[in-house]
């Protein structure tokens, strides 16, 4: 049984601006949930609330409840650092650590969590890189700088880095928007393979991508969740007029 995220009445602010206006949503276990919507609708902010990344921005604030299975991630005693270790994140632009080698990038999370034994690190790094479908391309160059890779490889390196600490959930914030179609296809294949083992939420403004990779889709507009449902139905028979307008390309 996989892990799910259950969001109740979530509100998020930047300063005094309310950007998420009370959202209820479920990220179902062992499936891919896509978050779509036009730029500025709050979809990135929404997923950044799920691993308590939102609050790292000055003046940012969150209200409401986010549960990982039965656990309230915003409970008073909950450590945001621990939350982020259990809910991994991949960002829009590939952001490998420029001062570290490929190996060190993947090992960073483990090493800084106290894993010291070389053999363990090697095993985990290979496992994570294999999972991220990058091992074959880099296994002979593990000492090279992470930024020497191509954009698509860098993004898979970042996925490997996130997978190395064995998260229960993987959040992906427009992971392909800086990549070409071939690299995008690789990442999408990877998403298909990964959902067998963990739960994925992916933000995208590419509707074809949402249709290709996800089981569930949520459509955000102006900080509200307009519609949420099974991806197939959402793209064929949307219930809300605004969803239909968006997916048929009438705005956004």
């Amino acid at each position: 049984m996989g892990d799910g995220i259950y969001v109740r009445r979530l509100k998020a602010w930047f300063g005094s601006a309310l950007v998420i206006k009370g959202v209820d949503l479920t990220v179902a276990p062992n499936a891919v949930t896509a978050i779509i919507g036009p730029s500025g609708c709050g979809k990135s902010t929404f997923v950044r609330c799920l691993n308590r990344m939102h609050e790292t921005v000055p003046t940012a604030r969150v209200e409401g409840e986010v549960f990982l299975n039965e656990e309230d991630l915003y409970a008073p005693g909950m450590d945001p650092v621990e939350v982020r270790r259990r809910i991994g994140m991949v960002f829009q632009k590939p952001n490998p650590f420029p001062t570290m080698s490929i190996f060190d990038n993947v090992a960073a999370g483990l090493r800084l969590a106290g894993v010291r034994r070389r053999a363990v690190l090697q095993e985990e790094v290979e496992r994570a890189l294999t999972h991220a479908a990058l091992w074959d391309e880099v296994k002979d160059d593990l000492d090279k700088s992470g930024v020497s890779l191509s954009g698509g490889q860098q993004q898979r390196l970042c996925i490997a880095r996130a997978l190395a600490v064995d998260p229960q959930i993987l959040l992906m914030d427009e992971p392909c928007s800086a990549l070409d179609p071939i690299a995008t296809a690789k990442i999408e294949e990877l998403i298909h393979a990964l959902k067998k083992e963990l739960t994925i939420a992916i933000v995208t403004h590419n509707m074809q991508q949402a249709a290709r990779v996800s089981e569930w889709t949520g459509f955000f507009l102006l900080g509200e969740l307009v519609e949420f449902g099974v991806t197939k139905e959402m793209f064929t028979t949307p219930h809300d007029q605004r969803t239909e307008d968006y997916i048929t390309g009438r705005f956004g």
Binding site: M89, K93, N95, P96, A108, G109, L112, A162, V165
Partner: protein, 279 residues
């Protein structure tokens, strides 16, 4: 305006700008040339490895002054590096609204304070209570000059580290301090080192703050609580003395000093060339 007239004006203004640029480096070239002309003859191996000779005897060197300068720069760095780098990281990473602004402003004021004032300050708080001039007092005066330089460069360099890297660190479950220590600082390292070297080059030639703190000494280093020689002080002492041989040595000392500063600056440039963090 006709095209010909426009081209003429363009040429005139471009030439003027190029000329101004050359005027900027002219003093350096002239100083260098003059120092070599006046001092090169006195620069020899003895100059680097011997103590000054007593008055009346020719020859001797400034080895003690070179060592003294290094000791005081080392003492100053021991104070200024941790304070400057930690403070700079704080200024760049803090979310506190007011304190960083105040510190930044005051650091800039501190940067503009004439160096002799730091000498007077160190004299008052160290030399007077200890009742003696000392390497320690000199080092402290130099540290005051280094701190704001290192502080502000560190801050600028840490600010240049893309926020995406911090988020990458947070994203794999690193606490703030580990993100700063293992992600932010290594990324900003080249720039911070440049700042440190610039600060060292700056204080290496400072004379005023050492006049009534380190005082100078014609012998080898005798402990941190004793007066100590320094290259700029030795130059000053030799330059105002009435002996031709000392004048030559003053020129030679100045040549050595400016060469050291030149080489350090060049090393800083080469060491950090092409390694910017911007992305």
């Amino acid at each position: 305006m006709t095209p010909t007239a426009r081209r003429r004006i363009d040429q005139a203004v471009s030439s003027l700008a190029a000329l101004s640029a050359m005027v900027v480096i002219a003093p350096l070239l002239m100083i260098f040339g003059f120092l070599i002309y006046q001092g090169a003859s006195a620069v020899n191996v003895d100059f680097f490895i011997h103590l000054p000779k007593p008055v009346g005897e020719t020859g001797g060197g400034v080895a003690n002054a070179i060592v003294g300068s290094l000791i005081m720069i080392g003492l100053a760095a021991c104070v200024a590096l941790p304070v400057g780098i930690l403070g700079g990281v704080y200024l760049a990473e803090s979310r506190e609204p007011r304190l960083p602004w105040v510190v930044r402003f005051l650091a800039d004021v501190l940067n503009g304070v004439p160096s002799i004032v730091f000498g007077i300050f160190a004299y008052t708080v160290v030399v007077l209570p200890m009742r003696r001039f000392s390497a320690f007092a000199g080092g402290l005066a130099l540290a005051f000059i280094m701190v704001p330089i290192i502080l502000r460069t560190t801050e600028e360099m840490v600010r240049l580290v893309p926020n995406a890297l911090r988020e990458a660190g947070f994203g794999i479950g690193l606490p703030q301090w580990k993100v700063t220590l293992h992600v932010v600082l290594p990324t900003a390292r080249a720039g911070i080192i440049t700042g440190v070297i610039v600060a060292i080059a700056r204080v290496a030639g400072e004379t005023a703050p050492l006049l009534f703190t380190a005082l100078g000494n014609r012998f080898w280093h005798q402990g941190f609580d004793q007066p100590i020689a320094a290259l700029p002080l030795q130059i000053y002492a030799y330059a105002i003395a009435p002996y031709d041989d000392w004048h030559r040595q003053a020129w030679a000392g100045a040549l050595v000093l400016i060469t050291l500063v030149f080489v350090t600056s060049l090393a800083a440039r080469l060491a950090t060339r092409g390694r910017t963090v911007a992305r």
